[in-house]
Amino acid sequence: MPAADKIDLNRLPNGELLIRLSGRWTLAEGVPAIESVRTECEGVAPPSCVTFDTQAITDWDSALPTFLGGLLDHFARRGIDTDRSGLREGVRRLLDLAAAVPETGIEVEPAGGSWVTRFGLAAIRRGKSAAESIGFLGEIAIALLRLAAGRAQFRASDFTLAVQQCGAEAVGIVTLVSFLVGLILAFIGAIQLQQFGAQIFVADLVGLGMAREMGAMMTAIIMAGRTGASFAAQLGTMTVNEEIDALKTLGISPTEFLVLPRLLALMLMMPLLCLYADVMGIVGGAVVGVGMLDLGLVSYFDETRSALSFADFGAGLIKAVVYGSLVAVSGCLRGMQCGRSASAVGAATTSAVVTSIVLIVIASGIINVIDHILG
């Protein structure tokens, strides 16, 4: 039944407005907008009083009080008297219950505001977040000092669990990705080098590329998506559950207890994974070298060995440690900064991955420049 048929407005001679409702008033039928009634009251002469007749309603659920509640609010705001005696007993009681506790709460600033306001608020938030990050780094430094002094409190089992999560469990994906990266490097190199008949240098290219750069970088990016995100989610959930508060009131520093084992585990496992990724990359290169360029397996590995020095691996390993700490720190930082809701955990996870990857790329640039200057 269309809404208009269910609402009948009658102006009585004495200036009152009689609202006659009829038919089915259920949520399945929808809640009519109060607009139609509103326009009637905006007219030249607002009614002196509003009365109701609900005899003809056949069936109702919360759709009816919802409609009437909005209507009564509207009349109350416009200062129009209402006479509720025409409403059914049950409806009247529900309306009274809904009005029993007056609307209170925080006057939350509207999310909009002018763009200047929003810009300013965003800047203030950024500033706060930056200060928090620096504070967090300080806490980590203190925790590391306490660790060096042998006074840090964390559970060995947390550490081994983290080692397992960011070591053994990551091997599969690292294998796949680094093997393919080696293959791709070899492929790109092969096309160019074949033109000069210098196919054998594909081995140099892949070896150096993996050992110095790609091994560490790819491992770090995998770990950012895998482990950094999971750190943020774990710590974020702990923040939501007040588990972090429980540690604090016990006088245990969450930085020592939760961040330190994760940071150490990742700093320890990253170089190992990186070495492994280097080897897998070289194997990937060899597949292209042997399969596509008809190089001998032995000569491919001989060439690789003569091209690589320990210094090359060393450079990659240093990067791996740096990247690993960046991933762990950003994961844990975002987790600890997490708000107190499930959606905040999601945001923390995303933000952890983004922060890690940005930091990894920046760090890579800085390390390469330093490396270049030092020769």
Partner: protein, 251 residues
Amino acid sequence: MQTGQPLVEIRGLTMAYDDFVIQRDLDFAIDRGEIFIVMGISGCGKTTLLRHLVGLKSPAKGKVLYDAESFWSADPERRQQMMRRFGVMYQNGALWSSMTLAENVSLPLEVYTDLSRSEIREVAFFKLALVGLAGFGDFHPSEVSGGMQKRVGVARAMALDPDILYFDEPSAGLDPISARRLDDLIRELRDSLGITMVIVTHELDSIFAIADRTLFLDPDTRTMLAIGPPAELRDNSPDPKIRQFLNRGRL
């Protein structure tokens, strides 16, 4: 410590989240060995008050004193020492989800006592038994019910036999029998060990059964309305709000 000196004093405390004031000008003291109940309508700031007392949120204004020593103006190290004197049970349990129930209760003991591993395990199992959870030590928090998690929270809070226990709605979500047992436990801890209890609760039965004094926080005026023994407040309070609260909404 000299007697007569209250254990905890709250002086002119104003609590706020940024600019939003939750409660202002709270002024009261909690005596040694008292069972002190904080009550009030949902959202009036009871949990927030506890957070100020246990060091999780600093006051907008005013002071919290433990044995006449200011808690929030002490340096962090000293504050840590003071915090060691209390145990806290959180409204949602806040169990460490990666540890078993026994490990949850053991952690405070591992950190702050020189007990051996087996002794710690024994103490932890005893504390779990006290809250009616004997035999559940090796479960993880996700494997037990919400009410059981609450009780583990209680066991963990009292792991170190602290001077003061803060409980945030310990019996909400418990069946009447477990709630009754918890009341008995609270009274017993106070009587035998002299632990001071600060409890947030709405359970009228427990309030009348165990409370020495109760504090009533009001969200409308944003301050404390009354403090005193609950039966007296119910019968003689001049304020209809308090009589209504203590009579289950009937005036």
